[in-house]
């Protein structure tokens, strides 16, 4: 096992994870639930559910429905608010023995700043993940993180205040993703989590109703993997040498390796953890099997090593080749 840990360790701009497999935001419970179901010290890091300034009671039920190889969900970011979180949940999460990444979301710049302040100097916090898929109440836009300047402004403010690494979780489906990624990193973010689930809707024709009590939701699960790999591929080439964490549809060691090849430094696992709480560990074991089979030492040996031609992304003979 020691060998495994040695070979899988990854440094994400400051925090060193024993394995590059984390549990995604909102899929790890509140600290106690996973005990006995998975060896948490073998999990690279746990991302907390997303925390807001005030308590959020969240969406009505049903909060989850199934789609082809995916789930449509909306919890409405149910959480106790930052103060109760820091007082009760954070210490519990830390006891798991794994790194704790705290996910935060605000509706205004000020809220993000105050959330970061509330986490300052808390030894249990290994890193902060900035949730940017929610509405922008100041600029009255449906998705704050979909806009280059705004995403950079918010992530930058959090990064400047934070003593720990800051990862911006960018919406997977933002049209200008590589551009947003570049701006966010220039603004000071340590790295990027690619990415937040795309908006979705489940409809139940029989009842003429939405499948979720909150009507709309987000898409998660294996259905997303090709979009995740593509977003990671584009982003990692736009901001080389920046830690990129892939999330969206990762279920097996092979999926994780695919993400590394596309440019990811680590992966997060959400839906797969809900289905099999031991998934983060078996995924890590799958990565080890792959590295062994290929005679490689660490995930970094495959990172961004997807074999594409030198000509790639350069005009070259494309014009000639058309007809």
């Amino acid at each position: 096992m020691a060998g495994v840990k040695r070979s899988l360790a990854v440094d994400l701009g400051g925090i060193v994870l024993t394995t590059p497999v984390m549990i995604a935001a909102g899929c790890a419970g509140t600290g106690k639930e996973l005990t006995g179901l998975v060896e948490l010290r073998k999990v690279g890091a746990i991302v907390s559910r997303t925390i807001t300034l005030d308590p959020e009671r969240g969406s009505p039920t049903p909060r989850i429905a199934e789609s082809a190889s995916g789930v449509v969900w909306s919890t409405g970011l149910q959480n106790p608010g930052i103060d109760a979180f820091v007082a009760e949940e954070l210490p519990r999460l830390a006891r798991s023995g794994s790194h704790v990444v705290v996910s935060i979301a605000g509706g205004t710049l000020e809220e993000y700043v105050r959330l970061t302040g509330a986490l300052q100097g808390r030894p249990e916090v290994s890193a902060i993940e900035v949730h940017l898929s929610g509405p922008d109440l100041e600029l009255q836009r449906p998705m704050l993180g979909a806009h280059v300047d705004r995403a950079a402004e918010v992530a930058g403010a959090v990064a400047r205040m934070s003593m720990v690494p800051v990862f911006a979780k960018l919406p997977l489906h933002a049209s200008d993703l590589p551009e947003i990624a570049g701006a966010v990193v220039r603004a000071g973010a340590t790295g990027l989590t690619i990415g937040g689930s795309p908006p979705a809707l489940d409809v139940q024709p029989e009842r003429l109703r939405p499948g979720l009590g909150g009507v709309t939701g987000w898409l998660s699960g294996p259905a997303l993997l090709p979009m995740t790999l593509r977003a990671v591929f584009d982003v990692s080439r736009a901001v080389p040498d920046t830690p990129v964490i892939a999330v969206g549809g990762i279920r097996t060691g092979e999926d994780a390796v695919a993400a590394f090849l596309a440019g990811a430094w680590a992966v997060q696992v959400g839906t797969a953890t809900l289905i099999d709480p031991a998934a983060p560990v078996s995924i890590a074991q799958g990565i080890v099997r792959y590295l062994k089979a290929k005679g490689l030492a660490t995930p970094a040996d495959v990172r961004s090593r997807l074999r594409v031609p030198a000509s790639f992304g350069v005009a070259s003979d494309a014009e000639e080749d058309r007809r």
């Binding site: 909102g26 419970g29 049903p62 199934e66 919890t75």
Partner: protein, 290 residues
């Protein structure tokens, strides 16, 4: 709570239902009435999430020691797949999960009210109550004959039983609500237990409140994990201090709840109260539904 690969000892057709018995000593040892199992679905399918089933029988002693039985009510792809699995195949299950029915300390007269597959967990409860020298009476309802769960066993487990079907194919025609008052009178009910679709539970809750009958109900809300990880299975429950309510996870804080504290109208109102991305023009308000 244990996670294991359990061999299927036997499968049985019970009217419209299907019962599966697993070899799962670690779970059988701990399982109590009201608790449930999370059953993994097969690989390579388009549907992913575990399916959840109340424990119908957990044998600790005798010839069946170490076995665990649950009952499947066919509905969609997951339950249909479970109807097709055969003895000696294996299922990946986690359990026992959630809260169990509490046994009465002072009281003796227990009325168990089940609709459809809800009877699965209540028959297990009946055994445990009888073992504790309580009086057990039952109301068992269903749409039709073949959905009345094991009527013979129901009779065996109860002092008196009232069976009702919507179409009158077995017992009286009607719903459990029609016979509830007279059964409560007749049996001198001191404690009521129920497992049924939530709209019926809501009416039972109202009834118990009126009559001031202490009760416990097992709810079913859609679950992403069943393990307390994802907050999808919540039910609105009033705070003890009356300062409002919380969305409690029915997989860890339930599925057994005190019906008096569940905000049934809020839970079951089909009026969504969250706000989606508004169409152009409308104001963007605080909400996180995507």
């Amino acid at each position: 709570m244990t996670r294991l690969r359990a061999e299927i000892l036997s499968t049985r057709k019970l009217g419209a239902y299907h019962s599966l018995t697993l070899v799962a000593p670690d779970i059988a040892e701990k399982a109590r009435p009201g608790q449930f199992l999370a059953v993994k679905m097969p690989e390579g399918r388009a549907f992913l999430l575990r399916r959840h089933f109340a424990v119908h029988q957990a044998s600790r002693r005798g010839g069946w020691a170490g076995t665990l039985e649950f009952v499947v009510d066919p509905l969609g792809p997951g339950t249909e797949w479970l109807m097709s699995v055969k003895a000696h195949e294996f299922l990946e299950v986690i359990g026992p999960l959630g809260t169990a029915f509490a046994y009465p300390k002072r009281h003796t007269n227990c009325l168990l009210v089940a609709e459809g597959h809800g009877a699965s967990s209540l028959y297990f409860l009946a055994q445990e109550l009888l073992a504790r020298h309580k009086r057990v009476d039952m109301v068992v309802g269903a749409e039709t004959l073949d959905r009345v769960f094991k009527p013979i066993e129901g009779k065996r487990l109860s002092q008196t039983i009232s069976i009702v079907t919507a179409d009158g194919t077995l017992g009286e025609r009607g719903s459990v609500m029609d016979v509830l008052p007279e059964m409560v009178e007749a049996t001198g009910t001191e404690v009521l237990y129920a497992a049924a679709p939530s709209p019926i539970l809501a009416r039972i809750a109202g009834f118990c409140k009126e009559r001031a009958i202490p009760a416990q109900v097992a709810v079913e809300e859609r679950m992403g994990c069943g393990l307390g990880l994802c907050q999808t299975c919540v039910v609105p429950v009033a705070r003890k201090d009356g300062s409002g309510y919380d969305h409690l996870r029915s997989c860890v804080d339930g599925p057994v709840f005190n019906p008096a504290r569940v905000l049934w109208d809020r839970w079951l109102s089909e009026e969504p109260t969250m706000l989606p991305t508004p169409p152009e023009g409308l104001p963007v308000v605080r909400s996180w539904p995507g």
